[in-house]
Amino acid sequence: MWAYVGRRLLLAIPTLLGASIIVFAMVHLAPGDPMSALMPVDASKADIEAARRAYGFDQPLPVQYLRWLGRVAQGDLGKSIATRRPVLQDVYAALKNSLVLAVSASLLSFGIGIALGLFAAFRQGRVLDKLLSAVAIVGVSVPHYWAGIILIIIFSVQLNWLPAMGAAAEGGAVEYLKHMALPTIALALIPLGVLTRVVRSAALDILAQEFVLALRAKGLGRAMVFAHVVKNAAPQILTVLGLQFGFALGGSVLVETVFSWPGTGYLMNLAIFQRDLPLLQGIILVLAMFFVVLNLAVDLAQTLVDPRIARH
C-alpha cells in the first residue's frame, strides 16, 4: 500500500514537469512577438531590443524555460503585462471565485447524479429508468454556455428573479448566493448527466454479479443489498467524480464568460484577448498543477476505498 502511494507520488513529478513544458511551449510557440504587446507602438528598435534582453526573450528557448521554471519554483509567476500586478496574486483571487463555483456545481451534480443513477439502476427497464436515462442524455449533450444563456433568458430577462451578471461584492450572503445560482446550475448540467449515466451503468454491472444474487438468496433486505452495491461501485464512481470536478473547474471558462463571473476562466479570456502572455501562462500552469494534484488525490482515495487497486 505505502509502496504504491510512494510510486504514485513519484510518478506525479514527471507529469508536473511535462505539464510545465506544455504550458511553456503553448505560449512560446504562439505566433507573434511577445514584445509587441509589451512595448508602446512608437518604441524605437533599440528600446525594443533592450527590453527583449531585459526580459530574457533573446535567450534560446530551453534556457528561457529553465529560468522560468526556476522562478516558478520560487512562486514567482511574473507580472501581468496589462495590470503590472504579480500574476500569482490575480490568479489566486480568480481561483478562489472559480473554486466556489466548481465546488457548488460539483456538490449539486454529484448529489443529484449519484441518486438518479442509483434509482435508474434499481428500476432497470421500467418507466422511471427510461425517464432518468433521457434526462441524463439531455444533460451530457447540452452546451453549457447555451444553457447559461437560456437560464438568463428565463430567470433574469423574463421572470426577473435572479441577477444575470457578476459576483456580488456586497449585499451579504443572500445576494452572493443569488448571483451564484444560475452559473452553478449551468455548470452542473453536464456533470449531472455524466454521473447519472456512469453510476447507473456501474451499479448495473454490480447488480449482475453473482454475489448480489447470493446476498438476496441469503435474505438480505433491499437496504443492505443497496449498501453493498454502492460500496462496490465506489471506486469507479470516484474516478468520475475527480474527472467531473476537473471539468467543473476547467470548463467554467465558458460559463464564467456568459455570467461575467470573476474566476480563472474570465481572467483567461481577458489574458487571451489582451495577449497578456505571462498572465495566460500563469493561469494555465496553476490550473494544471491543481489537476495533477487532484488526479493524485483521486488515485490515492481509490486505494483507500478499494485496497485491491494498490496490489497490481
Partner: protein, 299 residues
Amino acid sequence: MAHPLAPSIATGEVETVVGAPMSYWRTVAWRLRQDPTTIAAGSLLLLIALAAILSPLIAPHDPSAGSIRLRLAPLGTSSHPLGTDEQGRDMLTRLLWGGRMTLLAGLTPVLVGFVLGTVMGVFAGFVGGLTNTIIMRTMDVFYAFPAVLLAIAISGSLGPGLWNTLISLSVVFVPRVVRVAESATVQVKSLEFVAAARASGSGVWPIMRHHLLPNVLGPVLVFSSTQVSLSIILAAGLSFLGLGVTPPAAEWGLMLNTLRGSIYVNAWVPALPGVAIFLTSMSFNLLSDGLRDAMEIRG
C-alpha cells in the same frame, strides 16, 4: 471425393461459415436497424448534415445580406420564419450555413484522433517496453489538463481561426484515443490466439493486421463516437469565445456569441443556434449509445 459419412453441405452454406467475421458487422447493422432511438437520431443527423451540405441550394436568403430595418425580427416573421439576427440577416439561412462550419470543426478533430490515436496506441501497446512508457507518459501529461481548458489554452495561444480550432481540438482527442487503443492492444496481445499465431510463425504485420487491429478497432470506434458530441460542443464553444471561426462567417457558436447581447430585445431568436448545437450533440450521443449496445462493447 467427399467422405461418405460427411454431411452434404451446399457451397453457399460453406461460404457463410467462411465469412463468419462479416456476420458480426451484419449483426451490428441489423441491431442498429432494430433500435428506434438509433434510427430517429440517425435520421435527424442525416437531415442536419444534408441541410448543411446543401445550404447554398436550399437556404432562402443570402447568409451575409442583412437589413438594418429588419433587425432581430421575431420568430414567424413572414419570409423569415426563424426571425433575423442583430444585423437583420435571415436566421434560417445562417443556421443552415452555420452547420457546415460547426460539423466540420467538430467532426475533424475526432477523425484525426481516431486515426492518429489508433496508430500510436496500437504501436505503443504492441511494441511495449520503453517505447510504450515514453508514449503513454507523454499522453498522461496531456491528461493533466481538462479537455475544455486544454482546447481554450491552445486556441488562445494560437489565435482565432478554423485551423487553430482543428489543431487545438485534435490535441485534446488524440491522447484520449491513444489510451483506449493502447489498453485494448495490450489486452488482445495477451490472448491465446495471438500467441498461437506467433507460434505458427506469423510475422509482426500479419498479426497486427489480422488479429490486433480488428479487435482493437471496435472499442476505439465506440469510444471515438462518444467523443463527437463533446467535440461539437467544444468547437462551437471556442467560436463562442471568439477563438474559432471569425465573423462574418456563420457558425453556431459564433452566432450564439454575437446574438447574446440581444436577449433583452428578442429573447428566443438568440437561443436558436444553441438549439442546433444541442440537437446535433444529442443525436451523436444517442447514436454512439446505439453503436455501443449493438457492438456489445463496454465503455
